[in-house]
């Protein structure tokens, strides 16, 4: 541990301490991201890995990169989160049943191959080399340095990439958006329809559900002034599910008043 810090040469003690605390955490949560069952937990661990990476960047003096990493990736993970909720479901878990025959051995082989490739490449990289030109690049300040590179040397590349991304986003929108056959009824249309309809009985909205002392009454129809139940007062969802109860058991017994 010390040897590595010394080898890199200019790594200061606090930075080394921070590295040895955060790096294992980052690795563990990156592994956890692969192994946890719930997709949302996985997204959260991804966010944590990104934040630790950002802290490393900041510790290395790349303040701008670190902060931007947090802004960009928290937003990205948030989108991931929304996609999980929309596509997979609120609390779905991974099923471990193998659907495609031979997928597991194939993927394990591929993973080992990729891992071997990465390890062999990274092992050959040279650590502890004196960085050249860093002082020079940051002479006008880190942010200004990045800005001048971005808006002069690489401006064309960035414009091309942004055009590509915009095209992709527009394409996704065009593909995903189906044109509805009739226009959506907005609040205004509904209001007009209520007043233009055959009867004005529901002009002020649908009747509220029944209120009974003996039952939580969202699923029990209210009684109209003439004593008949009003099915409109119960949510259509409950009705469709067959959860609408009869209001009979909760009605007051009306005794015929005998006339003398």
């Amino acid at each position: 541990m010390d040897s590595l810090a010394l080898e890199v040469g200019r790594t200061l003690a606090p930075e080394a301490i921070m590295f040895w605390i955060l790096a294992p955490l980052a690795v563990v949560s990156a592994l956890g991201m692969l192994f946890v069952k719930k997709a949302v937990h996985s997204a959260l661990l991804l966010a944590w890995v990104m934040i630790t990476l950002a802290i490393f960047y900041i510790a290395q003096g790349a303040l701008f990169l670190g902060i931007v990493q947090i802004i960009v990736y928290t937003g990205a993970v948030m989108m991931l989160f929304l996609f999980i909720l929309m596509l997979v479901g609120v609390d779905s878990s991974d099923s471990l049943v193998e659907n495609i025959r031979g997928q597991r051995p194939a993927s394990i082989t591929a993973a080992i191959g990729l891992g071997g490739l990465l390890v062999s490449l990274i092992a050959r990289s040279n650590l502890g080399v004196e960085a050249i030109g860093l002082q020079d690049a940051n002479s006008n300040g880190n942010v200004q340095g990045i800005a001048s590179e971005l808006f002069t040397k690489y401006v064309w590349a960035f414009e091309v990439v942004s055009a590509l991304l915009i095209t992709a986003a527009l394409g996704a929108m065009v593909l995903a958006h189906s044109t509805s056959t009739k226009s959506r009824t907005a609040q205004r249309d509904q209001s007009i329809a209520r007043f233009r309809g055959a009867s004005l009985a529901t002009a002020a909205g649908l009747p509220g559900s029944g209120v009974y002392a003996l039952h939580n009454a969202v699923d029990v129809p209210a009684l109209l002034p003439d004593g008949t139940p009003a099915p409109l007062s119960v949510s259509a969802t409950l009705d469709a599910r067959g959860d609408m109860l009869s209001s009979k058991p909760f009605e007051l017994e009306v005794k015929e008043v005998e006339e003398d």
Binding site: L44, L63, I71, L82, L85, I192, L200
Partner: protein, 411 residues
């Protein structure tokens, strides 16, 4: 000397003292602002507000806090326990973090050491605040998801969509400030407002920021994530006791934080009002803290005023406003600001700058008049015709009453 250079000379214990002071100020500000909000809203609604606990009811918020802490702490059976506990912690810790880069005062003497009341002045200070804010939202979204029931989930989803949309507008409104101050560090932005505050020179940016900061803090009229009329309590429906108190704390600290950032970026930070510059040296420089706090209180008052005045927006209206009004408008404004900046930096003659500004104003006027006439035409086409007479007695329409009255009077 810039703020960053002054702070660099701070010994460790001064940094500790400053951190503690900032924390204490935040917590005190929360207690005071809860009380202040309730009193102010009460005043606007012809009530008294809390007035029993302590003088003027000042200790009410503290008493409420103690009551909250002593309540039973429930975790619903369907909740995801770990995330359910982590969510309020994320909210309550991140809200304090943005204060690290806010300069609360000019040069002051703290225990015999010359310094500024700012924990650190990093070159990307404002971006740091944005980053912290975007982490803070996770508290709300995760609380909504982990509660395991419908209303919190809807609240959490609303909040994430809200933040993703309004952060764009907020970020764009800050770009003009960066362009004019030539820096993203809060200390240098304040220093750049020595003469003219950015709320004057960059007025449109100020308006956009002020609107999106209300959206960012989930406050009325943009408090759709906890809309009690539709979602019971929104994301915090299932929370009780201290965990709820943490959300409550986070909301108010966030209000103070965005107000402090608005003060720093647009109202000249700790600088005195124009013409009162001599007050900045009073009390050995500590008077600047009072100026800063006064501006924060001003923003806080606006927050309360908005809450007392405006009804909550409908969700689709809110989204439409963010994407179709705020963002295009700020993009256009950045184009104008950047052009003006380049013109003045390249030493363009005054006539060119004035001509450009005049052209922009003309274009805006022409565009808005076209828009208005199109809107009028649409309204005419959409106008509802006469509604058929209802079959039961209703009060007469005002215009008709007078006619009937005159007929009656005439016999």
């Amino acid at each position: 000397m810039t703020n960053a250079e002054i702070i660099a000379t701070d010994p460790g214990w001064i940094i500790l003292v400053k951190g503690l002071l900032i924390f204490v100020v935040c917590v005190l500000a929360t207690l005071m602002s809860v009380w202040g909000e309730r009193r102010l809203v009460a005043r606007m609604q012809q009530r008294l507000g809390p007035n029993r606990v302590g003088p003027f009811g000042l200790v009410q918020a503290l008493a409420d806090g103690v009551k909250l802490a002593l309540k039973e702490d429930l975790i619903p059976k369907a909740a995801d326990r770990i995330v359910f506990v982590i969510a309020p912690i994320i909210s309550a810790t991140t809200c304090f973090m943005s204060f690290a880069v806010i300069p609360l005062s000019g040069k002051v003497n703290l225990f015999g050491h010359e310094t500024v009341m700012q924990l650190t002045d990093i070159p990307v200070g404002v971006l740091y605040v944005l980053a912290i804010a975007s982490v803070g939202v996770y508290g709300i979204v995760l609380a909504g998801w982990s509660s395991g029931s419908t209303y919190p989930l809807l609240g959490g989803l609303r909040s994430s969509a809200q933040v993703i949309s309004y952060e764009v507008a907020m970020g764009l409104s800050l770009v003009a400030v960066f362009i004019y101050s030539g820096s993203m560090s809060t200390g240098e932005i304040v220093a750049a407002q020595n003469q003219w505050w950015f709320c004057v020179t960059l007025f449109p940016s100020f308006v956009i920021y002020a609107i999106s900061m209300v959206g960012e803090t989930n406050r009325a009229p943009f408090d759709l994530a906890e809309a009690e009329g539709e979602l019971v309590g929104g994301f915090h429906t299932e929370y009780s006791s201290l965990k709820f108190a943490l959300f409550f704390l986070a909301e108010y600290v966030n209000i103070v934080a965005v107000s402090a950032l608005a003060t720093t970026l647009f109202l000249g930070g700790y600088h005195a009002l124009p013409g009162l510059g001599f007050t900045e040296s009073w009390l050995g420089g500590w008077f600047t803290v009072i100026w800063f706090l006064a501006k924060v209180v001003f923003f806080f008052f606006i927050f309360v005023w908005l809450r007392g005045t405006l009804p909550r927006l409908r969700y689709d209206q809110f989204m439409k406003f963010g994407w179709k009004v705020l963002i295009p408008f700020s993009l256009l404004w950045i184009l104008i600001v950047a052009t003006l900046r380049v013109l003045s930096q390249q030493g363009a003659p005054r006539a060119v700058v004035l001509g450009f500004s005049f052209g922009v104003v003309l274009l805006v006027l022409a565009g808005s008049s076209l828009f208005e006439s199109a809107k009028k035409r649409r309204e005419r086409e959409d106008a509802i015709g006469e509604v058929s007479a209802p079959s039961f007695p209703v009060p007469a329409i005002p215009g008709k009453i007078t006619r009937n009255r005159t007929e009656q009077l005439n016999g």
